[in-house]
């Protein structure tokens, strides 16, 4: 039943979900959804440059995303435009640049849809290696900076005053985001990466009493969404990325239903409520 390419896709997707979920919690807590969108739009410029300069695609996407993140920090410091205008500017100009560069390279026959919405068939063994090596690196770094990053998320000035170095932590966090987008692009596609970051975290929120717990629950939801989404994709011949996102959406809706509330109340009596 399981074709080889499908096993590869599931293994790769599970790896991506495990890494995206804890980072996605920070995206939700810090209200960075649009930042995630900006980086993933910029990813297409990375793809175009990879073809142009004959680079590894994942590496090129990481470099472009990291460059956009750093550019954003620098532009924010100048502070003549608000953050959301800057993000919109960076997101859509890099997306447009990417599409223009790709259109110029008439000698390349590529499947643009695959990059925009993900492509199960495109996952190779090398991709799985990159996803797991990169993913493990991201999770290790995230574990190391977890406490300062969380403190800076609650209140940046408090973290700064008490020696948590939020500026450095934020920069590292942005690079982790760039990495996750680079490694998850083939599975869910450029346009839908942010969904994989946000929806599992949003689903986990209702069941979590602590930040660490929320990250773990989000990872479980993410893995479930990837597996069921990919099965759906195989069954109904739908593109992989949208299928995964639809599956995640279903989990989110279930978490909102009264059934989930009942489940939560029995498993977590009174805790987290004021006595």
């Amino acid at each position: 039943m399981l074709d080889d390419f499908f096993t590869r896709a599931v293994v790769a997707g599970v790896g991506v979900a495990l890494v995206a979920a804890p980072l996605g919690c920070f995206v939700v807590w810090r209200r960075l959804a649009y930042f995630g969108d900006t980086l993933s739009h910029a990813a297409l410029l990375g793809v175009a440059l990879a073809f142009l300069l004959d680079l590894n695609i994942t590496l090129a996407v990481f470099l472009v995303c990291a460059g956009v993140a750093v550019a954003l920090v620098l532009l924010q410091r100048r502070a003549t435009l608000s953050s959301d205008s800057l993000l919109g500017l960076l997101a859509h100009s890099s997306l447009a640049l990417g599409l223009v560069v790709l259109a110029f390279m008439t000698w390349i026959r590529m499947d643009l849809m695959g990059f925009l919405f993900g492509d199960i068939l495109a996952v190779s063994k090398a991709d799985i290696g990159i996803i797991y090596l990169g993913g493990i690196a991201v999770l290790i770094v995230l574990a190391l900076i977890w406490n300062p990053l969380f403190a800076a998320t609650v209140n940046r000035e408090l973290a700064d005053a008490e020696g948590m170095k939020p500026a450095r932590t934020n920069l590292i966090f942005m690079l982790l985001m760039a990495t996750v987008i680079a490694i998850s692009m083939k599975i869910v596609g450029v346009l839908l990466i942010t969904a994989l970051l946000i929806i599992p975290a949003a689903t986990a929120r209702r069941f979590a009493t602590g930040p660490e717990q929320m990250a773990v629950v989000a990872a479980v939801v993410g893995v479930a969404a990837v597996v069921s989404g990919l099965f759906g994709s195989l069954t109904w011949d739908t593109p992989s990325g949208p299928s995964i996102v639809v599956a995640a959406l279903v989990f989110f809706l279930v978490s909102l239903s009264p059934l989930a509330g009942l489940l939560m109340r029995t498993s977590r009596p009174v805790q987290g409520e004021k006595s």
């Binding site: 020696g163 929120r205 930040p211 717990q213 004021k274 006595s275």
Partner: protein, 292 residues
């Protein structure tokens, strides 16, 4: 008391400019170990900016800010809003920047009167309860230097007194230096060693009594404010418990306290100009009400 003179934080002619506007300028300030320095001043006078310069959150545009190395800092910012999406219990909030064992944590929560809220989610706390949690978090790490930016905002009046007492007791117990920003001129603690009156620059500074009598202070806050500046002296004969009851010196606990209930030998609160009554400040004595 040998260590008492050790300067923890020093600002020298420090100023901070943002968007071509000086938020504060020419501030000289030293907080020593075991000392409470209180900043007062009208809205926008640069109190919080001065505190952030002292903490190193802002780098001074001119002048210098020095902190002794390896300083363990506790900070209660003026405003912290915890996002709804953050699942954060008081217990986890206490461990935000430093490791704490359960004993340290419970002790601090006990001291600020919110031990019963340890497992509550931070976003469900009332304003006053959250202030207590922030203060508990700052003292739990046994800091060398604390900056308290309006630490008792939103706390009920009896709780306010108890927290001010706690702050001076912590100073005595830990020997830490405290930079305190007071939103309320009515209660500048007698435990304060130095009051600095800010209005974009230092107007006047000195002991609480000296500042209350200075012409600059009167000019800044108006004549009525002088009468309002009650210097709270903490030589009481009773303690207000978090649940509203009162413990007297002789160990008995009552629901209320009255001067003639037999538990008092003398007046507990010795207000400076009698503006500070036990039941609360008289309405109308607040300088904000003057419209000046």
């Amino acid at each position: 008391m040998l260590k008492a003179s050790e300067a923890l934080v020093t600002l020298e002619n420090a100023g901070f400019e943002r968007a071509e506007q000086w938020l504060v300028r020419g501030v000289d300030l030293t907080v020593r170990r075991g000392e409470i320095v209180t900043l007062i001043g009208p809205n926008g006078s640069g109190k919080s900016t001065t505190a952030k310069l002292a903490l190193g959150i802002h780098k001074p545009t001119e002048g210098a800010a020095r902190r002794s190395s390896g300083l363990n800092v506790g900070y209660v910012p003026q405003k912290v809003s915890v996002d709804r999406t953050l699942p954060l219990s008081v217990r986890r909030f206490m461990r935000l920047t430093k490791r704490l064992d359960d004993h340290q944590m419970e002790e601090a929560l006990e001291a600020t009167g919110i031990a019963h809220l340890a497992n509550a989610e931070v976003r469900t706390l009332s304003g006053g309860e959250f202030q207590r949690a922030m203060l508990a978090r700052a003292i739990a790490v046994r800091p060398d230097f604390m900056v308290l930016d309006e630490p008792v905002q939103g706390v009920d009046f009896s709780g306010e007194i108890a927290l001010y007492e706690l702050i001076s007791r912590i100073r005595d117990d830990l020997g830490c230096g405290i930079l305190l920003i007071s939103h309320d001129l009515h209660v500048v603690m007698a435990a304060t060693d130095q009051v600095i009156c800010l209005n974009g620059h230092i107007c006047c500074k000195g002991s609480p009594d000296m500042v209350a009598e200075s012409a600059e202070y009167r000019q800044l806050f108006g004549d009525r404010a002088t009468a309002a500046l009650a210097i709270y002296r903490h030589n009481h004969d009773h303690t207000h418990l978090p649940d509203g009851r009162v413990r007297h010196l002789d160990g008995t606990i009552t629901d209320h306290c009255h001067p003639d209930d037999g538990h008092h030998e003398h007046h507990g609160h010795d207000g400076h100009h009698a503006a500070h009554q036990h039941d609360g400040p008289e309405p109308g004595t607040k300088p904000e009400d003057d419209g000046a």
